[in-house]
């Protein structure tokens, strides 16, 4: 059972060859087996998974259960789960139990079979999952390596077979980069495609929930499960949800594919670049029209992001003040209580970004930093618009490197930020992008990133499916 994709498992359950309870039991057992090595979860919920699986089995007798509902899932610990503690990888929310479920989870189903809350960098800020107050997650492909981040727990859970698929969140690459480093598929949908209601906010203009799965078809099915308009999220898109599986097998004949020049040179590991180049040749053989495209403002992606995201962080994280929820460190006056609560509750990276954002927004610096960054953001969007007038899909590496060693970049925040070189412009423009395993370099997985215009996920998934078929890569649970 452990080698099936989520789609295959769902079909077997639908045909009553396997029960939801049996699937949950297999997931729970796998979690017990490997969790000591991997540490993919902050909180495991085996009892809850069984209880809900039994309810799904009972409901199946009456029909009306949707294909995906019985599939055991790992949920990143920044998504609110009613009555199940939600830490965001932070000490400040160590005992926080939300009063409601995130809308994306409710869309999935009333009895979502959740095996646990997946570890992540604190408030989703990081690229290695080392910024978690609950210890680093280890990459199932090499336990001395990081799984990437910030959705590293979700990626490692899928790669290790701790549940069949997972939800992550992506603000600057946090679904795609860990997917790439763990040899799985990671999709960041169009901004607004999946409701953010109940997602504890990091940078509200960039955050998006996305599927992390064993293959592209699973990503299409999981997006189907969670997508849709939600009046509770004012940035949610009131755009019809198409059938994401319908054109999946359509191939790439005639598709115009642009290779991003700025992301194929300096700063990209040779093995990574070669894997991407070889897949581009395969796409050409399969009938795609391939060309090179330049997006000149991409080089400003990281500096722009590291103004806009921390600015939004400094505002969003101001709610953690020891008054309405989370940690409170007692003190004599209210200001000292705020300061000490936040000092003890937040880790290094959260503090750094609060400081950076507060600085960039403070009197005298606003125009030079935040206002300028918002204009560069416009330029990056214009670059994409020009590119999409000539190409249907853009291609690049997902991450400039394969999985690096735990501790290697921990004391060099700038080096860590450059992990998201290829993924950040996508969030600034709000477009969808997917990472697909493209092969191995030094025995570790390489991710290929595909990008397309707003709300063109069906085409993006179709191209991703073709990449997946061309790639010399087969999913099997590790270690």
């Amino acid at each position: 059972m452990l080698d099936l994709t989520a789609y295959e498992l769902a079909k077997r359950i639908e045909a009553r060859e396997i029960s939801a309870r049996e699937a949950a039991q297999v997931a729970n057992t796998r979690v017990e087996e490997v969790e000591g090595d991997v540490n993919a979860f902050v909180t495991t919920t085996p009892g809850l998974a069984l209880e809900r699986a039994e309810r799904v089995d009972a409901r199946m007798k009456n029909g009306g259960v949707r294909l995906w509902e019985a599939v055991p899932i790992a949920v990143k610990d920044v998504l609110s789960t009613k009555g199940v503690r939600t830490t965001c990888g932070s000490r400040i929310l160590e005992n926080f139990e939300p009063l409601y479920d995130a809308s994306a989870l409710l869309n999935y189903g009333e009895d979502i079979v959740m095996v646990g809350k997946a570890n992540c960098d604190e408030f989703a800020m990081g690229s290695s999952t080392e910024n978690s107050a609950y210890g680093p997650t280890r990459n199932p492909w090499g336990l001395d390596r990081v799984p990437g981040g910030s959705s590293g727990g979700s990626a490692a859970a899928v790669a290790a077979g701790e549940g069949w698929w997972a939800l992550g969140t992506d603000t600057g690459g946090s679904v795609r980069q860990p997917a790439a480093l763990c040899g799985i598929v990671g999709l960041k949908p169009t901004y607004g495609r999946v409701s953010r209601y109940g997602l504890i906010a990091f940078a509200s203009s960039l955050d998006q929930i996305g599927p992390m799965t064993r293959d592209v078809r699973d990503a299409a099915l999981l997006l189907q499960a969670v997508a849709g308009y939600d009046p509770c999220d004012s940035t949610s898109a009131n755009v019809e949800v198409p059938d994401y599986l319908a054109e999946l097998e359509g191939g790439v004949a005639g598709l115009r594919v642009g290779v991003v020049k700025e992301l194929m040179g300096e700063g990209i590991e040779t093995g990574v670049r070669e894997a991407v180049e070889s897949l581009v040749r395969e796409l050409e053989d399969a009938g795609a029209e391939v060309g090179e495209v330049s997006l000149p403002h991409f080089r400003y992606g990281i500096p722009t992001y590291y103004i806009i995201a921390p600015a939004e962080v400094s505002s969003n994280l101001s709610r953690f003040d020891g008054v309405r929820y989370g940690l409170r460190v007692p003190a004599d006056g209210v200001h000292e209580m705020y300061r000490r609560t936040r000092e003890e509750g937040f880790g290094d990276e959260a503090k750094r970004r609060i400081m950076l954002g507060t600085y960039a927004l403070s009197a005298g610096y606003y125009d030079a930093y935040y206002a300028q960054a918002q204009k560069v953001r416009t330029r990056i969007i214009e670059d994409f618009r020009t590119a999409f007038s000539r190409y249907d899909v853009l291609v690049s590496p997902t991450s400039p490197t394969v999985a690096f060693e735990i501790g290697e970049k921990r004391d060099d925040p700038l080096a860590m930020y450059y992990q998201d070189l290829c993924t950040i412009p996508v969030n600034l423009a709000g477009i969808p992008a997917i990472s697909v395993p493209g092969g191995l370099s030094d025995g570790l997985p390489v991710g290929v990133q595909l990008m397309s215009d707003h709300f063109t996920e069906p085409m993006l998934l179709r191209a991703a499916r073709a990449v997946e078929e061309a790639a010399d890569f087969e999913f099997t649970p590790k270690p």
Binding site: G192, Y306, V323, G326, E336, R352, M355, T358, A371, Q374
Partner: protein
Amino acid sequence: MISEEEVRHVANLARLGLTDQEVEKMGGQLGAILESIEQIGELDLRDVPPTANALNLTNVLRPDEPGRCFTQREALSTAPDPVDDLFAVPRID
């Protein structure tokens, strides 16, 4: 490098306590990050409109109709130190 005084000023704006050691480390790290960020200043963007939201959404409003909301008890159940059915804070200074 950001001066110690400036780090303490920004930390105060953010209501964030920092140890002396953190203040020193933060000055160097923020300085390095800001130096790398400053390259966006080289672009002439005087006539470029800013983007706050990639989908250009503006003022999405819902109808002003009452709906289900949390009870007072529910809303207070996550509070660290409520007093008499209210959120409570130490003395305002």
